[in-house]
Symmetry: C2
Subunit: 108 residues, 2 copies
């Protein structure tokens, strides 16, 4: 499964872009997890910047937004996960596969 | 060039998703133009929803965020354009080509 970078409204888009590009170069894909409009804004800016970093390496970075229910301090929140990867490479089959496996098989 | 849908912070993500899916089905691609974090939030939600609308037709909707300088009421603003299209289909070469043509050739 792709590494997850959590992005907040205080994250620096340039710094996130650098981290994002590094993980994509090494692992082929990365997910940004954001909660709220301010965090999403920084995440999307980071992706737009990272496209420029990765283009000379022949990576055509695309993103796929997916809703995700997460828990923060015991409360249920809706996050958005931005799956970032080269256009020619999809991890989404893997994500779907993992989601399809009931969790209890992992814990007995 | 792909049709442009302008999305505001007051846009309904479900309505935008329906319009987005319709244009992608007919034309293969669409661009959402947003200014500000609230508008971006509605646009990204719309893309996440539209993925579900298009999946049964075999369309793997991806988005590519690009910064764009636009003018609103005579003031220069930075917008984000979200190019939405099937993963297997890219319009970006066309976009780059148009951007590379100096505008003054159009006006004499």
């Amino acid at each position: 499964m792709a590494e997850v970078l959590k992005v907040s409204s205080k994250s620096n888009p340039n710094a996130v872009a650098g981290a994002l590009a590094g993980v994509v170069r090494n692992a082929g894909a990365v997910e940004l997890q954001v909660v709220g409009a301010g965090a999403l804004n920084q995440g999307i800016k980071a992706i737009a910047i990272a496209r420029g970093y990765l283009e000379p390496s022949g990576v055509d970075l695309v993103c796929v937004p997916i809703f995700a229910d997460i828990e923060i301090d015991g409360e249920s929140r809706t996050a958005i996960r931005l799956v970032c990867e080269d256009r020619a490479h999809t991890t989404l089959d893997l994500v779907a596969l993992e989601a399809a496996q009931p969790e209890h098989t992992l814990h007995g």
